[in-house]
């Protein structure tokens, strides 16, 4: 089982979240979506593990099945 829930950021989580909001500041919805798209692609490459990515995709999709 791939554990996607485990926290890897610790106190840096808040710092990253703030940086993410800051990056989106002033963006149109389309630019925001584009920024997220780029971020997902870059992070997927960083993860570099097809199984983990598949599990993450499924977890993210859960929201749309219910």
């Amino acid at each position: 089982m791939i554990d996607l829930g485990r926290d890897h950021l610790g106190a840096d989580g808040d710092v990253f979240y703030a940086a993410l909001l800051k990056a989106h500041e002033g963006f149109s919805p389309e630019d925001s979506a584009r920024l997220n798209a780029r971020l997902v692609l870059i992070l997927a490459n960083q993860v570099g593990d097809r199984e983990v990515l598949q599990a993450a995709l499924e977890k993210a999709m859960e929201r749309f099945h219910s």
Partner: protein, 536 residues
Amino acid sequence: MPSYSYQPFGYAPPPELSGKTPGRYPVAIVGAGPTGLSMAIDLALRGVPSLVLDDNDVVSVGSRAICWAKRTLEIFDRLGVGERMVEKGVTWKIGRVFHGDREIYSFDLLPEDGHKMPAFINLQQYYVEQYLVERARDFPDLIDLRFKNKVIGVAKLPDGAAASVETPDGPYRLEADYLLACDGAKSIVRSALGLEFAGRLFEERFLIADIELKADFPSERRFWFEPTFHAGQSALLHKQPDNIYRIDLQLGWDADPERERRPENVRPRIERVLGRSDFEIDWVSVYTFQCRRLERFVHDRVIFVGDSAHIVSPFGARGGNGCIQDVDNLGWKLVAVVKGQAGQGLIDSYNDERIRGADENIAHSSRATNFMTPKSAMEKMLRDEVLDLAADMEFARKLVNSGRLSVPCSVAGLRLQTPSPEAILDPGAACKDAPLRRAGDDVWLLNLLGGDFALLSFGEHPRIEANGIRHIHVARPGEGELQDVSGPAFERYGEGLTYLVRPDQHVAAAFRTPDAASIRAAHRRAFDNSQTGQNP
């Protein structure tokens, strides 16, 4: 009907108006809020007299600050009021966060035993100020408390500052070697010096109410994102002494503060939170929050302390708690300079160390407020998904931010501290409390440290040439005069280490082999005297 009865402190005509005293003081403190009062007491405990001027003659109207953190209580304990506050306050350490009506996460702010002070107490600001005023009155020769003395102007002098003061009997002028601006968020001293208070305002309004209710809600902090009883917004509930509960409700930026304050509008909102109507409204206000700070806190002989220097939004309780850490940091330094033991550089270190604290507090409070008040569709979407994922994913629970509660600020890496790679507790950190035994009595480590420099060793008694500094030696359980009881002290500090502790109970240095030369160097450095070579 407020349940607290406000007793005016009383006004006496100042001696200046009958031409009796020269009107020059070593230290003048503007403002008798939590900051100014604590400041005066700290100085008095160190033998330095001060004059305290306040425009009012009662304690804080409305309860305002209620959450006082462990480090603040430890400082208040050093000032002689901590135990009284804990006795009166509601002790808590558990926080629960809900999304809708579902609990998504809870936290324990003090999971370990062996500390004299609890993680947090809730105590209305009016009690805190009352106890501080009463404590200040224990020093009639050192603290001159002047109520209904409003400062209307301040000017810098080459060797001090001058203030113009208005009283019911007319105006007067005074001079001081040091003027401490403890006059709160709207500081007149700040505007008199023309200083910018830069930062930001959060476009959001919050209804803050204290209500009187006989109920047995648990002593926990409860926070809701989008509860069904207050759709789409956030809510916070805290228990206070005297059957008072604090309720914070997010209202949105469009809310009309005048309208929202009216009892006929407040009551139904609170009824929905509590599901009952057998309560009285004690105090209500509608707030917009800001995070701002001065670029510098030290302006020659005028020093800003507390809310006059920095303000934060209250999520995380970093406002008043930050103020008391300012006081703790400045007290011993100012006294050393006034007594000629150190140069102005030591006061400048207050500037650097507490700007670090203010920036930490501003960063945390801003992030919490941002999380609570998404400002765009994208922010709202990210927040919604964090809350949704938090149901079963730990990492998302960690991102849920309803306020990161006040912790002591470490001054590690700043210039008074001596780098000590072997330390368990790093130089700059606030000392941790621990239970000890001395001659059959239970004692607390922080109480023994008190408010002077100390050397603190654990384990084998080292041969130390203490250079006139007090030496506190903690032995293993069952061994020396002063013993660790069950291990927490050794665990927290490390066996075989000796620490040099500053008067504000922060670590200055740690030594495995505490030789006289290293102790002397670290002691000098902690006084900012390493350049001059002057002996503290």
